[in-house]
């Protein structure tokens, strides 16, 4: 009898522990490996590695993990995740990227080019669990880092193709795949590889979009190439919207007959905010953004034949 009592007690305790664990998990959006060993007061380098394409560093400090690529002596931050609350975005442009959902709030298929730590795809997966998210990442080591340090996980609705973005778009085109939203966030230490900036690439993107699909692109307005990039978008897509005004501007383009009126976008943003409880204020982002033409309209565009973006990246705008 005593033994049975003991076993019941053990059972009871373990049930309690499991319940508590799942409670914690319920609070947390997705588990970050090693988060329990994390100490607030320590700043450390978790990984330093030369991959096929980058010099990768993963740091842990001030409650977050950072993925950096080094180029020309600087470490460029590619991804930052809050270890305890991954949905509390540590980079402002993550929030800006959510603006895409005000444009297309019921996406079925999403393509994400440039995985990095996978923070945005995981957040999207959390907010839109029914959407099929296909990720494309060039560097197999970056996918490993995303899984090991950023809690990125593949499942039925979350896939990764380890391949160049442009090559993958070409394949999707041949398979006649269609996407509602394509996010383009592929950087190589501060700049976008030139073949992901040209008119031919954008035409490929347009061809894999559904009729009211959008491209959401992360650009750096501090560089001369920003203006080239936007002019090039202008030759392929009918409407352009931009969000944010800091070091990153999120440009959204679509090929609709008429641009979406801002009041519709705002209404969609308010509805989503209520439904999804984003940690950021999406309606405020939409309100500040819009169809600004904050770029130099006249000038050359980027094509496969002429695309000096990797030279232009070093020219800062006045």
């Amino acid at each position: 009898m005593k033994r049975r009592f003991l076993m019941m007690a053990i059972f009871g305790i373990s049930v309690g522990v499991v319940c508590q664990a799942s409670l914690v998990e319920g609070k947390q959006e997705w588990p970050i490996p090693g988060q329990n060993d994390y100490s607030e007061y320590e700043s450390k380098v978790l990984l330093e590695k030369e991959s096929l394409y980058h010099y990768i560093r993963v740091l842990e400090e001030d409650g977050s993990r950072r993925l950096q690529f080094r180029r020309s002596g600087s470490d460029y931050e590619e991804s930052v995740i809050n270890i305890r609350q991954p949905l509390k975005f540590e980079m402002y442009y993550y929030s800006l990227m959510l603006a895409g959902f005000a444009h297309k709030s019921d996406p079925n298929r999403i393509l994400f080019i440039g995985l990095g730590g996978g923070t945005i795809p995981m957040a999207i997966h959390h907010y839109f669990p029914m959407a099929q998210i296909d990720n494309v990442e060039l560097d197999p080591d970056v996918v490993e880092v995303a899984k090991k340090y950023f809690g990125f996980k593949e499942d039925d609705n979350m896939k990764v193709y380890v391949r160049d973005g442009r090559v993958q778009v070409r394949r999707l085109l041949r398979k006649k795949m269609k996407y509602d939203i394509v996010f383009v966030d592929a950087f190589r230490g501060g700049y976008i590889p030139y073949h992901l900036t040209t008119r031919e690439f954008m035409e490929g993107l347009k061809a894999i979009l559904t009729s009211d699909g959008i491209v959401v692109s992360n650009l750096r307005p501090g560089f001369e190439s920003y203006h080239y990039h936007r002019r090039t978008f202008n030759t392929v897509f009918r409407n352009q919207y931009s969000y944010g005004s800091g070091s990153n501007v999120i440009v959204i383009v679509d090929a609709r007959e008429k641009p979406l009126p801002q009041k519709d976008l705002l209404a969609a943003a308010r509805r989503l905010q209520k439904e999804k409880q984003f940690t950021t204020d999406l309606p405020a982002i939409i309100e500040e953004g819009g169809m600004h033409n904050d770029y130099v309209r006249k000038g050359p565009i980027l094509t496969d034949d002429y695309a000096p973006t990797d030279v232009l990246r070093s020219i800062r705008r006045e």
Partner: protein, 209 residues
Amino acid sequence: MSRTCGVAVTVFGCGWVLMGLEILGGRMLSPDFGSGVWVWGSVISIFLAALSTGYFVGGLLSQRFPQGFGLALVIVMAAISIIPVAIWHRTASGWFADLDLHERWGSLFAAMTLFFVPSMLLGIVSPYAVRLVTQDVASVGTKAGTLYAISTAGSFLGCLLTSFYFILWMGIQLILFLSAGALLLIALLLLATWYTKGIKKQEVVTNET
């Protein structure tokens, strides 16, 4: 201008065009095969294979036809071979991309199709040029060394200026057409210096050694 000078300008210009072409090669392939290590690996290895072949063929040709005309003809052919590359490189690399091979094989085959012939023809130039300026065995090492130095200096500039400036100023196609034009001019210059009577001056130069 003496014959030696004409040949020196020739190897300089051909070295320039060769490396300019190599730099553009990576950019021509990246729309279809990405800009990963494979693309650069393919381009560089195809150029080396082509050069290896070209050096061998160049040696044989120089023995058979030790004349300025022969070398000029090779350079004209190189110029002509660049033109289809300029016009059809998108079509060709797209075709290989659609074969759905692994990127490394796709880019290798595309690089072979596009760049083997022009770089092989340019590879013929160096050994041929050595033969043209050689009068005696004693000086052949010096002559060869000087020509290789000049040719590689041309390659250095072609590589640097193409990647740093030309791609900022103009499109790939235009750079290719200009390269072909430059090769034609070089061939003309070579012919002009070879067949004008500068023989006496030439003899003075050789007597010095």
